[in-house]
């Protein structure tokens, strides 16, 4: 084993280079100008590492390897070509695939080594398999909810968290027993099956608005399970890639939980969707002002500065291309149009940015929440398209509101606010939005795509 075959050293060198390329790959993601170079670096690193691995002296049979690599590629290509609106569910699905790979390898390693599994190895193997299994079913559930093949409504019941944590706790206890007594091979299936069940239970109480946090968290779990697999196989490249992925998912989860004003422990224990307190009770018919597309077009065309605030509703109605037409029509008239993007707008981190970029809106017009909030006081019109809770001023002013303290886009500071919305129903969190009753707010009732289209026609038609 210890005799250093030349191929072993060569493999280690390819892994070393691949590790460096992976780090560079993420570093280059810091700016859109260098990001594509980052993908390239990742691809080269990946090819190097795979090519190096194929030289491994222990490999006796290439038939199955080739077949598996080809089949994986055939499945991967359509997954790389999904529509931009389907990116959240695609991402969740790929977390599931990653976790499946890690769980299967961990399981095979256990049965190859058992009963003589060293304590430390069994501990990391247990972690690998527990995290991998729960990420697998959790991600499948998340993908199912996002794809709307599963009911999206969060399902909650009394004692849910206790039941869920019990399932996970038993799995951890079994893993500890296996560390002490690896000869109890018959216990092993439990540390796969229980986390598989936990993964399902964990996502049942999750609603759409929690998805950005959940996807980030699953991302982090997938990374950590891969890193654990690196410990089991004594593969540094895998440890590094897993640690990078784990860190990335962790940072995104923290960002998302901050943007929703949830404590991080709340996120860590998977206790999402808790605050379903139906505060919509006080929503008796209060007067709102509404406007027609013609009136909205007139106000927009007369403005100097417009900030558009997109939300998940824009994605649902596929309005991003119409929004682009509106952007063009207004820009042509000399109006300064920018976009204010809340971190949790949409169903995954950065979701809105991708949709707007797809519609060819230049990325330097997309503002993060803090920049946008610095701008609203000088903004003539804030146009809210399919966003609700992230613009709710109750988060700033009403200490009894369930979303009190959540950072929001201060659209109410703009001179005029226009909200495109289907009707007066409350947002995801079931919270009434005082913004709609504000004197300077105009409600534009209708489908986002249709309404923006009508505004564009008015502006372009009246422009000559």
């Amino acid at each position: 084993m210890m005799s250093e075959l030349p191929s072993t050293q060569l493999i280690e060198v390819t892994y070393l280079v691949a590790s460096a390329l992976f780090i560079l790959s993420l570093k280059w993601m810091s700016s859109p100008a260098t990001a594509r170079r980052g993908v390239w670096a990742g691809e080269v690193g990946m090819l190097l590492a795979i090519a190096g691995t194929l030289l491994h002296h222990g490999i006796v049979d290439y038939k199955w390897l080739a077949a598996a690599l080809v089949l994986g590629t055939i499945i991967g290509i359509p997954l790389g070509k999904v529509a931009m609106t389907a990116v959240p569910q695609r991402t969740a699905l790929s977390h599931a695939f990653g976790a499946l790979c890690v769980t299967l390898v961990g399981t095979a390693e256990f049965y190859l080594r058992a009963p003589a599994v060293p304590k430390f190895m069994m501990a990391v193997l247990g972690m690998e398999v527990i995290l991998g299994s729960l990420t697998f079913t959790g991600s499948l559930m998340a993908a199912g909810k996002l794809q709307e093949v599963l009911p999206q409504r969060p399902i909650t019941y009394k004692g849910q968290n206790i039941v869920n944590l019990m399932v996970l706790a038993i799995a951890v206890v079994v893993a500890v027993i296996l560390v002490m007594h690896p000869e109890k091979i018959y216990l092993y299936p439990l540390i796969v099956i229980l986390p598989l069940i936990f993964g399902v239970l964990m996502i049942i109480p999750i609603g759409g608005a929690d998805m950005p946090t959940v996807i980030s968290l699953l991302n982090s779990y997938a990374g950590l399970s891969a890193a654990a697999m690196g410990f089991v196989l004594d593969n540094k490249l895998l440890i590094i890639a897993g640690a990078l992925d784990g860190a990335s998912g962790f940072i995104l989860s923290v960002n998302m939980s901050k943007a929703m004003n949830r404590s991080f422990s709340n996120v860590l224990f998977g206790a999402f969707g808790q605050e379903q307190a139906s505060a919509a009770a006080g929503a008796e018919a209060r007067p709102v002002k509404s406007a027609s597309p013609e009136e909205a077009a007139g106000i927009l065309a007369a403005a100097n500065k417009v900030v558009i605030v997109p939300g998940y509703g824009m994605a649902v109605s596929q309005a991003q291309h119409k929004v682009r037409e509106l952007y063009d029509a207004l820009t042509k008239r000399g109006v300064d149009v920018r976009f204010g993007i809340h971190p949790v707008a949409g169903r995954m981190p950065g979701h809105m940015n991708v949709l707007l970029a797809e519609a060819d809106i230049p990325y330097d017009k997309l503002m993060e929440m803090d920049d946008a909030n610095g701008d609203f006081a000088q903004t003539d019109v804030a146009l809210v398209i399919g966003a609700n809770d992230v613009t709710n001023p109750a988060a700033r002013t009403d200490a009894s509101s369930p979303i009190y303290g959540m950072p929001i886009l201060d659209v109410d500071k703009a001179r005029t606010v226009m909200v495109i919305k289907r009707g007066m129903s409350a947002g995801f969190a079931g919270i009434d939005n005082p913004l709609y009753y504000d004197d300077k707010t105009l409600m534009l009732f209708g489908d986002a795509k249709g309404f923006v289209g009508s505004i564009v026609r008015e502006i372009s038609g009246g422009g000559h």
Binding site: T53, I75, M229, L252
Partner: protein, 98 residues
Amino acid sequence: MKLDLITSLYVFMLAGFIGFEVIRRVSPLLHTPLMSLTNALDAIAVVGAIILAGEHKTTFATVLGTIAIVSATSNIVGGFLITDRMLKMFKASGPKKS
């Protein structure tokens, strides 16, 4: 074996710190492609699956390893493809073509 474990822990810790520092600097603009990219990189787990399936120690291990290769490879191919597709769409507002 003991020494290797400590080395592995060092590697994990350092990679974790690098990850935090590097990813903190990624613009929120690119958080979706960031996630699909890290997902593709994470699928480097395929190397473990390749060795497992290639060594052919038991049929059970080979079958699991082969399925693992398929799922990881689909992540590599799909992940890089979609990341590049997304990044291609991000354009700065250059000179207007009318």
